[in-house]
Symmetry: C2
Subunit: 388 residues, 2 copies
């Protein structure tokens, strides 16, 4: 059996296994990143034209590209519809970027921690993953500058707004500083923003891509966290030098994104009813965040530290007494609780023990207290065992 | 700008450019492979559950996987639903297979000619493309054996039923012989069957994958040619040794296929109404094929040779007096006629001059005679110019 060399790096996905285990209805799961079922909007299909059943353009539906460009311009990202590529969920942007940039040994620069599935596909293509530390308001700038001085990464991958997993939102000052650094060193930016609209304090956080003067960039977003993930409709917007390559890579990946989902997305993007839905969604998630915060205080105050997230779907806990949280999984699942260990969110997991990613959006409020209580007990027991 | 090494092989897609030129309403196009608009079935969406808006499984919807496995078993392919992976159009199967098998310089074995978009993605990943000649009933077996004796290809890629572009359907004898050869040499089969159901004589053509004793295999199909391509729903079925790798690659490519299209496909696959629709579709395309054959006889009898296709969407013409058909494109488009030159369907195009691929399914019957007349005139003129 002669597979490609890259297949040796095709990891079993820990999150797949955890989510599979969390399917049992009795499991209280903090593991996934699923939108709350109750907040999936009711969508109508009756008016969809039959002609959308035909093959479409690799670029995406023209009207949707226009609407997405307008939405991006409102965020300060100067762009035209011709720079918008509709993709099959923003995960596909990562696949296209990996194809565009990564050979075996190509250096790339990532936040530590970073999005697990991005790490997986970049590593699959053979990237050498450099990282810099995150602080509460964004990158450690001295460390970021040092990396840029000492390396020539093919790109930097950032999730500046309510990052998965850390929930960090870059400050305005750090956004400006990062943009200046990327221009100075001529490093391409890939900016991933699935959580932008899930903000609880309404504070501004304009894209970094819109602040660049000369560096190339790919900005990517999705309707998965705010409309319906099952549509598999995301998008990227790229600087004009990159767009033609990304378009050809998209075409060879799957010809084009399904037009049914694109049509549905177009019914929402830029509309008043979408703004109304987003407003309800923020209110709903803010309440869940607040309940989670209060319950965490109750059960984890002595065990861990965390920043209260101002958006997104996750709490990121740092244990006061670090241990490899992957070793907690079996015991947690035996107690019908699921969570995501923090280690896999780093390219060098063994150097970053003691974080937990907890999703607050999906769990039934009635089971929240019991779930966190059990999880805290699992942590406490492991710490006692370790001390013994 | 440091792109990956593979980007140097990212070709401009000739077919994209031709199809773009063919968008002008006055153009009579034989270039694409689009289903006839008139035959897109009316689909209903009213009963779709809202819960399909949530994230789904990377494997695909369980009920659809069951239905696809049952359909494949009826064709003689022993398989379980657990071997079925729903993909975002069967183009994605080619992307996943390229990732699974191809490093720079990996030898693979292809029909000559073969599907253009397969060639493009295999070459993008750096494959060294070996070929064997096609005859009217399938491979030249002596040449195929010789290739297998002299090389160790990572896989063989076949479109045995109404191939795009050649319309060749392998005979039963050649299907058996190919399966025996692949078992003998232990070479993995990728069998691509988008056109299986578009048969005009109803003759049997059971999959080669179902005849294998020991070789690994991937069988891939789609609803794009028989239901709605805009859904972007295809599938692969793989031998159990390959499935887990393909599943992980699928997950990293786009998480899962859109569930809206999967739900719609499930309303049809295995149903009586699908059989009824397929029957109407075959009748419609058979009529178009017959009209095209008669009109070709009128205008091209002295210029080219061809086999009448027993299925699929294309005629494959071989000019009696070969010339590089790519050079005909500008003149054809200037006369408002579009077609696909045959050369790009070979990895070594300059060694295979003088074929044209003509789609018969899409053109309006009222313009068929004029279109083929103009195209014949373009060929005639070029041959005179060449002789001069």
């Amino acid at each position: 059996m002669a597979f490609s060399e890259r297949v040796t790096r095709l990891k079993s996905s820990l999150i797949r296994e955890i989510l599979a285990a969390a399917q049992r209805p009795e499991v209280m799961s903090f593991a996934g990143g699923l939108p709350a079922e109750a907040m999936l909007p009711k969508v109508e299909w009756a008016d969809m034209p039959l002609s959308l059943g035909q093959y479409g353009m690799s670029e995406g539906e023209p009207a949707l590209r226009e609407a997405l460009a307008a939405q991006a311009r409102a965020l300060g990202l100067e762009c035209q519809a011709s720079q918008v590529l509709v993709v099959s969920g923003s995960q596909q942007t990562l696949d296209l970027a990996a194809k565009l940039y990564i050979d075996k040994g190509t250096e790339i620069l990532l936040e530590a921690p970073t999005y697990l599935a991005a790490l997986q596909i970049f590593q699959l293509f053979g990237a050498d993953c450099l990282t810099f530390a995150q602080e509460a308001d964004g990158p450690n700038l001295a460390q970021l500058r040092q990396r840029l001085e000492q390396h020539r990464p093919a790109f930097i991958y950032l999730i500046p707004t309510f990052q998965n997993p850390s929930a960090v939102r870059y400050s305005e000052a750090k956004r400006a500083a990062v943009a200046a650094l990327l221009d100075e060193f001529g490093v391409t930016l890939i900016e991933d923003e699935p959580y932008r609209e899930l903000t609880f304090d309404g504070a501004s956080a304009k894209p970094i891509a819109g602040r660049l003067q000369s560096a190339s960039w790919i900005y990517t977003g999705t309707v998965s966290k705010t409309l319906l993930p099952g549509l598999r409709v995301g998008y990227l917007i790229a600087s004009p030098d990159l767009f033609p390559h990304l378009l050809k890579l998209k075409q060879s990946a799957d010809l084009h994104t399904n037009r049914i989902g694109q049509w549905q997305a177009l019914q929402w993007v830029g509309s008043d009813k979408y703004q109304q839905h987003l407003s309800e969604l923020r209110g709903f998630y803010r309440q869940r965040r607040d309940a989670f915060q209060a319950t965490l205080e109750k059960h984890f105050a002595d065990l861990a530290e965390w920043e209260m997230p101002q958006g997104g779907l996750f709490f990121w806990l740092t244990l006061k007494q670090p241990l490899d949280t992957r070793t907690l999984l079996n015991d947690a699942l035996a107690n019908d609780v699921a969570f995501m260990p923090g280690e896999p969110f780093f390219p060098d997991p063994d150097n970053h023990l003691g974080h937990l990613r907890l999703n607050f959006s999906h769990i039934d409020l009635a089971r929240l207290d019991e779930g966190l209580k059990r999880l805290a007990a699992v942590v406490r027991k492991a710490q006692l065992d370790e001390a013994a």
